[in-house]
Amino acid sequence: MNDELLRVEGLTYALGEDKTILDHLSFSVREGSFTLLCGPNGAGKSTLLRILKGLYPLEEGTIFLEGKDVTKKEKHRLREIGLVFQDADSQFVGQSVEKDIRFGVENLALPVEEQNRRIDEVLHLLSMEEQRHRNPHTLSGGEKRKLAIAGVLVMQPKLILLDEPFANLDYQSIVATLKLLLRLQKNGHTIILVSHEIEKCLAHADHVLVLSDSLLVEEGSPKKVLPRLSGHGIYVPHDTPLEKLTWLTQ
């Protein structure tokens, strides 16, 4: 496929000899697409994201980014792939919203003017100008999630990975986060989102990956995968058509 951004072939990860966390996973992700990665707890979803990002060593398999083999190029993946952690609190380094967003661009050694430009742009995009000088740890859950996304966005990654972005959020914050993600996709960002709460966003996904017991058990369009999801321990509301599986009511 021409517009393929990420391709994974035979990815395997194990803890010791007995415990296989991910077993020969192969899939690809189109540029500008919204991929939903779901599966029961302990299926290896977070581990997969951390391997793709370059935080965990890859034992077996190949990762292609924009057609180039980046399996051994962890630094390249760290730069080109952004990961929003499940626990936003643990991601914060700076002692104000602005300082935390700046942290990433400082590490990219960008000129100060470019850093300021990107920070202003991201704060505007995420409507966070008013929180600019707040301490990250005093923000609400939804604001923390937005800041975690801002910290990643400012580094302008090619691919954004989000680990359970709706966890511990109230209804309004989930809707706001979902709207933000769709806006990012519309702006051309490629997104892989981990969530087992498919009723919140399946309608917006272009592509679905289902992990269960270390294996990639389903892959395809939401329409194709939806009838088989409950068989993999994923909650699917009864008699709800695909287009209704969203928390956006507009």
């Binding site: 951390r50 990002k53 935080l55 760290l78 730069r79 952004g82 990961l83 952690f85 626990d87 609190d89 643990s90 991601q91 914060f92 380094v93 700076g94 002692q95 104000s96 300082k99 942290f103 990433g104 400082e106 590490n107 990219l108 050694a109 100060v112 000088h133 707040r134 301490n135 740890h137 005093t138 923000l139 609400s140 910290g151 990643v152 580094m155």
Partner: protein, 228 residues
Amino acid sequence: MAHAVIFSFRHQDRLLNKTHPLIKVIALLCGCILLFRASGFLLSSIALFLIALTILQRLPLRSYARQLRFFILLFVLIAFGEYAHSQSMRSALIVLVRYALMILYALLITDSTSSDEIANSIPLINKSVLASGIELTLAIVPMIFQVSEEIRIAQRARLRRWSIRSTFEYLSTLFELLLLRLEEQALALEGRLFDAKRKRHAPPVSMHDVPMILATLLFIGLRIFGYE
């Protein structure tokens, strides 16, 4: 919204926030050294200066009340130790005030200075990994208080009463949780391409530094001329 965490930075448009971080650190060090022996006039002068700064800075001491309990316990132990040694109430009280003022100094500095500002402003080391070490260490301090507060609340919610056993449980949970948080943070740092040797820019010295410099020089002068 979460409560303010002790020893964490608050962005404000106040004199202490505008003072050069290095001058604040030097003032803190000088202040602590002077406080070791201070009593009477010098102690009162420093106390008045810090109280004035606390008011100017609008330090949220009420929000810190719970987190300050650890220090209050420490103060009581120090004062008790001094009383047992000297058999003098006055002497115990002076020691207590000295340590309380040292903590207040530290609270004011951390409230007005972010950890990266301190790391950026120290000459000679601000281009080395040591600066990043200082920055990360200072950033971890509020996390320790935050985690300990979370555990305390969780234990209390489950009706845990104080006992030696519960104290050990509390400490082991604290270390375990801190290690987990630090592991996650290490991954997050790596994920955001943390460069310990990155270029740092020291802020310029300005007129806002004058009051802190004058106050510190005054205290040193008082000590030299024997007004202890």
